[in-house]
């Protein structure tokens, strides 16, 4: 393997990491800040993808689709918060897991009811659709560059929101004692609805952005969901910085594992077996990574409230 390819793959790993972070961002917000496990995050991701695709097809504009997906996911998030989630804050994780698991079932079938069973068309806007040439002569898809920028922007924005603003303090205060923060004059119910809607909007945003280079179909949120959980848990729940770093770590480990394991194994076995076994091990790699991290740091790499 050439050095150039190795570097390119590192870049791909980092880029996958940023994409994972984008997908995990809304989840980190809800999960970390509100202390709520939301399995339906993947469904909101899917809704974002579908709405963007549908509106883009109808209007001919990707950007309109993107805005619509943000709005639709936020609205749906607010609705879900008011109808369901609100009753779950003081429940244990088990109830949260199951209620949102139920939402996953409902959203999947609901989206299918509305949009049909077939994958939808969603492409990046024309001016981002081709490759650009990076310094060093490497062609690189322009749209992925855009995703990286969006992901980093979301990371920075969220980080500031949570750690630097009063809103962030109030949300975190609400996580530790909802009744008390309300008794001090903060409308925590409304605030939580807003936060949940924001998290949902981020999920929808990610679904729309990522949907343009992946497939917009029922169930598209599920693999994302599990990966996003892995990312957040490795990073330490509630830490935006941790999530970003963990996402990059997972991206690089996954990419390099897929690349290197088959190569290493081909030294000891037949090439096509090595490809199979290597890939089998690679698919377990990020889970191994997660298990290893948690065994040594049971609260993730960057525990919040340490």
């Amino acid at each position: 393997m050439t050095v150039a390819l190795f570097l390119e793959q590192m870049l791909n790993g980092l880029q996958l990491g940023v994409m994972l972070f984008l997908m995990a961002a809304g989840l980190t917000l809800i999960f970390g800040v509100m202390g709520l496990i939301n399995l339906a995050h993947g469904s909101l991701f899917m809704v974002g993808g579908f709405v963007c695709a549908a509106v883009a097809a109808w209007s001919g504009s990707f950007w309109l689709g993107l805005i619509a997906s943000l709005a639709a996911a936020a609205a749906l998030g607010a609705l879900v918060e008011i109808v369901v989630i609100r009753r779950l804050y003081d429940r244990d994780h088990l109830d949260q897991v199951l209620a949102t698991f139920a939402l996953v079932l409902m959203f999947s079938e609901g989206v299918r009811f509305v949009f049909g069973s077939f994958p939808l068309y969603l492409d990046p806007p024309a001016f981002l659709s081709g490759p650009v040439t990076l310094p060093g002569g490497l062609p690189y898809p322009a749209y992925r560059l855009a995703i990286i920028i969006a992901g980093l922007a979301v990371a920075a924005g969220l980080g500031l929101l949570i750690s630097r603003t009063r809103l962030g303090m109030q949300i975190r205060a609400g996580e530790s004692d909802r009744e008390m923060i309300a008794a001090l004059g903060v409308d925590i119910r409304f605030l939580y609805t807003v936060v949940f809607a924001l998290g949902a909007a981020l999920a929808g945003f990610a679904g729309a952005l990522v949907g343009a280079i992946q497939s917009v179909q029922i169930g598209m949120g599920e693999p994302v969901l599990i990966l996003a959980f892995v990312v957040i848990v490795i990073g330490g729940i509630g830490s935006i910085r941790g999530a970003l770093i963990a996402a990059l770590l997972v991206g690089v480990v996954d990419t390099m594992g897929r690349l290197l394991l088959p190569m290493l194994l081909s030294n000891v076995m037949h090439a096509s077996n090595a490809a199979g076994v290597g890939s089998a091990l690679a698919s377990m790699l990020i889970y191994l990574l997660m298990a290893a991290v948690l065994v040594f740091k049971p609260k993730g790499l960057f525990p919040a409230n340490a």
Partner: protein, 329 residues
Amino acid sequence: MRDLVTEHRLNIVLALVLLAGPLVAHAADEPFMVTLATRAAILALAGVGLNIALGLGGLVSFGHAAFFGLGGYAVGILASHHQNYEPLMTWPFLVNGTNQMLILWLVAVLVSGLAALVIGALSLRTSGVYFIMITLAFAQMLYFFAISWPAYGGEDGLSIYVRNAFPGINTLRPLDFFLLCYAVLMVVLVAQWRMTGARFGTALQAVRQNEGRVAALGLSPYRIRLAAFVISGMVTGLAGALYVDLNRFVSPSMMSWHLSGEIMVFIILGGVARLFGPVVGACLFVLFEHVFGSFTEHWQFFLGAALLAVVLFARGGFIGVVAGRARHD
């Protein structure tokens, strides 16, 4: 005290209903109803296993499908070697496959117990959401391994064509096999009931409610939890073994996170930490799947809605609604 009596009576009624249903169906020549009841009984057993960790111990394992699948693969692999007359291994000593359920169950229980020991030993270092996620991660790991490991069918799974044998019973007859599964379920339920009131059950429940206090009393919460997790994994593994014989087929989907979720669903539907909770939950689930499944292709929507309603409004599940709040001494 009155609630406790109600719950005991309810449990006896439930046990009898689960027994009577298939007997009636058999008499009415509806073998499929018997099969359905068998499915419910086996899934219930998986739920009973999880309920030991989750209900009594407060360990929300989102990866119990791993033990279900491991128990299943233990049976599938041994039985297929037996059918193909290929030894499982020849070195350092010869191990042959078998079709004797009693041996298969023992192996399934040992394998899943061992896996639970390893997974539990690592996972129990964490708690709360981290525990939920790390158990999920371990299950996903095994799931992906099973999908891509070619020796035993990978994602295609492994068929064993004929049911394994149990002395004195013709397991191929639906009713016989049901009775066998039912008996296993009842034995495990009685054992769990005894255990709950015994010292181990007391300690386990204490750990769930106040770990710091238990440690301050000089008992190790970690060990108590680990023991519960292993017992729990073994029971779920035994259920997996039976499930493979029911379907005559084992595949990685037995380890998927959906199945882990469904096992939890049984418990919630029936009632967390209630002895018969998973039994009721599994029966309701199986009924739902089949009744709604033939009405509408959107049945999963209604399943979701029903589940949501139970979680939000019927806390304590079915048994909670009928027999009231749980009591402990």
